[in-house]
Amino acid sequence: MNHYFETSGLSVGYNGKTLIRDICVGIEKGKILTLIGPNGAGKSTILKSVTKQLALIHGTVSIASKDISEWSPKEMARQVAVVLTDRIRPELMTSEEVVAMGRYPYTNMFGKLTPKDTEAVRDALARVHATELAGQDFGTLSDGQRQRVLLARAICQEPGVLVLDEPTAYLDIRHKVELLDILRDLAQNRGTTIILSLHEIDLAMKISDYLMCVKGDTIAAFGTPEEVLGGGGIAVFRPAGRAAESSGPAGCAAASSGPAGCAAESFGPAGVGNMIVAPGAPFETPDRNAIERLYDMESGSCNLLFGSIELAKPLGRPRAFVVAGCGYGIACYRLLQKKNIPFATGILFPNDVDYQVAAALSDHVVCTPPFEEMSQAQFDDAAQILLACDFVVDAGTPVGTLNKYNGKLLGLARERGIAVYSGSELRKGL
């Protein structure tokens, strides 16, 4: 048990009413734990409880193997520092003075700063790249600057554990990234254990050593980002049976064709109906809709691979067929989504970037095993759907040997008198 921060049997809530129960997690020194979960799930409640702002209802929180309930406020302040969501407006205080407040647990009863304290303030400001803000009135700072100064305040409290409640709220993308970089640096170079809550799942996966999903009255999941969210990995080919795992390169399995039981829903994110998959392509599926479940998303989706979010897909019989690939299709898909036109697309390799967006937005995705030439079987499937559509969109993907059937699809459309639009024609309006 070398957990630096640990909770056991922890129940938290307000006024004696339990909101979340049985929180048992532990992380090592210098690691970053991120709480994710929907609004109102109780992330702040947990953070307030481990910082003693709220009384614990049950269980214990320990830091460095000591129960925090036994600490005096001063000892606690030397161990745990916070960055809160409170919007503070101190009047006539410079950033430096705000940061220097972090020395509170170390100064004498008049709050006199020793040279060592001044040094700590200077160091903390430098660490958040805010040295030049020192003399500036805190009230005149931008949100990004404020957050950095407040972080510096917490840093110069020299805590073992740093707790931040939604530190990236109100920040633009650059300041988000900068803030998280600073946290990473603190964890790695100062050994500060960091506990924070975030709404940005994509960033959470990238900064955290551990993720805690808060949902309902309990912790939905706890572990490394890979354990909790399946790492967001791409669908990978694996030999059909686990037993055959060692037999040869992964790609081979696809060749051994045969109507293997490849359930469509085991392939893409949930909600991608009618996925047409090459027969005999067993995919190992990471838990790719963990986010949709955690946040009860009824429409739209979150791509864990890229952390990108797609809006709700248009529902109904496909009216358009997009011949795509190589990233050319994405703009067309999103355009159709904006116009709320249900569409089908193909023929795509699953390792094509278009595939990631198509899976989220398209009603039908015709796809084919990667690293193989497309086959007549997929062409037939695609042609059948295409012929039932009102029009076809040529995304502009170059046609080569591996995707020659896509060229044939466009030819077929023209032959049968179905209108074929380019991406730019689609943008101008039909």
Partner: protein
């Protein structure tokens, strides 16, 4: 890391240029503090001299100084030797009409004004920091309404039964009323999590007390109503040395205590959440704050009636002049500044329409309200730029 040093934000540098030189701002504000303290002290001396000098009976400045000097000399000697200089002291104090006016009317009055004004300012400052609300004042927690309620009940219902009311009874009544309300607010302060809720509780309790007062007035005779109205306008007239002693005994320890809690008070500027995370015992600190500021304003209310606006305006003036809101600077400076403000206002109150005396609240409001408006607007503009 070297790359990172460049990724700093430049969007706000227009207001705070310079980097290295700015870092030692602590020294600058300390220097400013000394200068401001010296300035206010000089003003205080000036206002005290003017105050004893001016009035319906003119006393020459030289005489004032001489009499004051002798008074202090013999007073101290009397105190040290245990009464051996009583005769000389008596000769100085009661020797002439002028010395009587000086020692038994003007001097206690202005000293009372100075001490109570300072106490009001500190009381107001404490509450402004505590509630992080710039218009919180000593009476925002309903203290003056509570005092008025008990004074009203005393005047209207008890006066008939116990015969003539001494001024001392009213002082006790006002003090009792203030502490009663303080107790109510304290009880709520332990239940309410949110600070602004506490402010609302204070204001509502104030309304409740006003309602009770109005109810009493309905059944009162005109004479009592006039007395109550006079009381609630506030005045320093009728001040005597006993009042000064009482005020000093309560206010000086109170202000010193406020100065001693300057450190946690400074932490409160960042809000209760941060204060708690830095090691402030929030619950007991709440009690201490409310008790302290209530005690100061209760003392004022009891001795001079409710005096509006000093508690709001003076801390604002002080902070703006100091260009700092560091409690260890603002508390002593506010105390002096409040003293100066009240002594000047009292001077105006008793001389402007002499022999008619204005209520002190009239003068403080006339000067205080525009100051507060101006400063709030100016500061808001400064922050938005």
């Amino acid at each position: 890391m070297t790359r990172k040093t460049q990724t700093t934000d430049h969007s706000g540098t227009s207001t705070g240029v310079g980097s290295a030189g700015r870092f030692s701002s602590g020294v600058g504000s300390a220097g400013r503090f000394s200068a401001v303290m010296a300035g206010i002290s000089a003003l205080l001396v000036l206002s005290l001299i003017l105050n004893v000098n001016i009035g319906s009976v003119h006393i020459a400045a030289g005489d004032v100084l001489a009499m004051t000097w002798n008074g202090i000399r013999y007073g101290l000697a009397d105190l040290v030797t245990g009464g051996r200089y009583a005769e000389q002291l008596n000769a100085v104090v009661n020797g002439s009409t002028q010395s009587q006016i000086l020692f038994s009317i003007r001097m206690p009055r202005m000293l009372l004004a100075a001490v109570l004004g300072g106490a009001l300012a500190v009381s107001g400052y404490l509450l402004q920091v505590f509630f992080r609300n710039p218009i919180a004042g000593p009476f925002v927690l309903g203290i003056s309404s509570g005092a008025k309620m008990v004074v009203g009940i005393t005047l209207i219902f008890l006066a008939g039964r116990i015969g003539n009311l001494s001024p001392l009874t009213l002082i006790f009544a006002a003090f009792l009323g203030s502490l009663l309300i303080t107790a109510v607010v304290l009880v709520f302060s332990q239940k309410v999590r949110n600070m602004s809720m506490l402010l609302v509780v204070g204001i509502m309790v104030g309304y409740l007390c006003s309602a009770v007062t109005d109810f009493c007035i309905t059944f009162a005779n005109d004479h009592d109503v006039v007395n109550l109205t006079n009381w609630s306008m506030g005045t320093f007239s009728g001040a005597n040395w006993d009042h000064v002693k009482t005020a000093a005994l309560i206010c000086f320890p109170g202000v010193i205590a406020a100065f001693l809690i300057a450190k946690p008070l400074a932490a409160y500027a960042l809000g209760e959440g941060y204060a708690q995370s830095m090691g402030v015992r929030v619950k007991s600190f709440r009690v201490l704050m409310i008790l302290l500021s209530s005690l100061l304003s209760a003392c004022v209310t009891a001795l001079a009636g409710p005096i509006s606006f000093v508690g709001i305006a003076v801390p604002h003036i002080t902070r703006t002049v100091l260009k700092s809101s560091k409690p260890s600077f603002v508390i002593p400076a506010s105390f002096l500044c409040g003293g100066v403000f009240c002594v000047f206002c009292d001077l105006i109150a008793r001389t402007l329409f002499s022999p008619v005396e204005l209520a002190i609240g009239t003068v403080t409001s006339v000067f205080g309200a525009p100051v507060v408006i101006y400063m709030m607007v100016a500061r808001r503009r400064m922050q938005e730029d």
